[in-house]
Amino acid sequence: MSPESVLCWSEDPDLAGQLVRLARSVASGPEDRVFAASFDPPSDDGSRRIAEAGAHVLIRPNPAGPASTDPHVVASELRALVDTSHVTLVLLGSTKRGREIAGRLAGLLDAPAETGVARVHLDAGAVVVEREMLSGNALAQETLIARPAVVAIMPDVSASSPPPTVPVVQQVPSTSPAPLSERLELRPKPSGGVRLESAERIVTIGRGLQKKDDLVLIEALATALGASVGCTRPLAAEAGWLSDDHWIGLTGHRVKPRLYIAIGVSGAVQHLVGMRDSQTVVAINKDPNAPIFGQADYRVTGDLYAVVPALTKALDAK
């Protein structure tokens, strides 16, 4: 089998480092090579992380220029790197930007592609991936037959730390394509200041809550637990009671806390996919047949307006 040549890129420096570690463990043959692309200045944090993560080669298009976020520009630059370095596998981050670039790049390369990938390995020259399907209801194993293949990896996929390297820096001429879109504005989303991905404990509230003011009950419980507050889609997208960074599920955030308490949450497939990796799950719901109970370690059937204050009190008492 010919050696693998893996190209890693993500706009998120953390994720870029994770991709390089993953690439080193997937392509661990003596002749395999891991390339990381960076469009940022050399002093940048991203370059340092890529080096620490163990890339063999750090590729920089020259001139670096202002890093454009136009998908056409990014995908065209990556496409050129795939050609010049004879890349067999491209690893990108499965963020929204990453998936968009993955699609565009796969279109340019006429290559097989997959996103939302949680595991990847090589099997007799084919790329085998595991990812969610059916809005998170099922896990699929898929085989990407042709090469090069484009694979977008979920954040926080664990990989062993390979021995450190001093990456060779390779400057390649930039293809400098003209952008097809122009950024007019970039602004942060309204935020409640939470980062649920790294929360130890989460209290999630759903449509069982009758009005926005009642959030104080949930916040009091969260404080007593040292937990962050999460919510289902309707509370963020429809009611607007909480900002998007609280929203858990298929189209929200994916969480894996030590403790997850779902309150007044029915347990729709699209919600469950966001919390399935939680260690201990408690569900509080007045409907004994709510699907969330099928996914719970501890089930409390009851009215949240009675149970939640009692729980807060019990925690404060001890």
């Binding site: 699609g103 399907m133 896990l139 037959i145 007019l184 189209t251 403790l259 009692a310």
Partner: protein, 264 residues
């Protein structure tokens, strides 16, 4: 100058109905080929957005689906919401979970139709949820793309679109032709009236084979194979906490969580 008549394409997938798909009891495996199907969620939003744009600016909305004969259902949904034309590309040679094949077909249809100003797709299909097809078609055709759009303004020459990223909102401008992918938050699709549904059921659906759009089977060779799709087994303890009063329930729960180490 844009064409005097806005040419809008919209892609609709007749995907696996995620709510109804059942797994084999012992193996957990979901038979994707025979599972019940329905119109992919975000594609309804794409059709609604297309129809609203036409209602404001004029033009024609053409819905396209790639799939088996049952995909006519998705096209009828699109027509009921307000699409003017419906095209079905049906050919057993198209592996519908391979975004390469589907994208090539959509790109080829658009060429056959003489291009477009605006091509709307879902940002992810409910069953596959890859988020690949829209940007992929854009890459193949070399046109602009804007994905994850929550707000779309169209004028005579192009679009201004607000992208919803994980932690930021990005507003971009792109000229026609442009491909835009949308999610649930962009609009609320109208519920078609009884009359609209009835009319849609009689609407002629233009059927094209891959040969008629200039592709041959080799262009569509599968490059991705789904080896297995299965519902993961649940391993939750499923302990029911009971008590005579909410306070008793709460104390029992707190004790259980402490014992298990879930609380400090």
């Amino acid at each position: 100058m844009a064409a005097p008549q806005l040419r809008i394409l919209v892609a609709v997938k007749h995907g696996v109905d995620v709510g109804l798909a059942r797994a084999d009891r012992t193996t957990g495996v979901v038979a994707l080929d025979t599972a019940p199907r329905k119109t992919s969620d975000f594609d309804r939003n794409a059709v609604e957005e297309a129809v609203r744009i036409r209602e404001r600016l004029g033009g024609r909305v053409t819905a396209i689906s790639v799939g088996s004969a049952s995909a006519r259902e998705a096209l009828r949904d699109a027509v009921a919401i307000g699409a003017d034309d419906a095209i079905l590309v049906t050919d057993p040679a198209v592996p519908v979970f391979d975004t390469r094949a589907v994208s090539r077909v959509l790109a080829a249809v658009s060429r056959t139709l003489g291009g477009f100003d605006l091509f709307l797709l879902g940002e992810g299909s409910s069953d596959h949820f890859a988020g690949l097809v829209g940007p992929r078609v854009a890459g193949e055709l070399g046109v602009a793309d804007v994905a994850y759009v929550r707000k779309l303004t169209v004028d005579a020459t192009g679009v201004v679109a607000e992208k919803d990223l994980e932690r930021e909102l990005e507003v971009v401008r792109a000229s026609f032709p442009v491909i835009v992918t949308v999610g649930q938050e962009i609009n609320t699709p109208r519920l078609p009236t009884f009359m609209a549904t009835l009319k849609a059921s009689k609407k002629e659906i233009r059927q094209l084979s891959v040969a008629e759009i200039g592709l041959d089977a080799a262009h569509l060779d599968p490059t991705v194979r789904i080896d297995r799709a299965a519902v993961p087994a649940t391993t939750r303890k499923q302990v029911t906490i009971t008590g005579n009063t909410p306070d008793e329930v709460a104390r029992t729960l707190v004790d259980a969580l402490r014992t298990e180490g879930a609380l400090p």
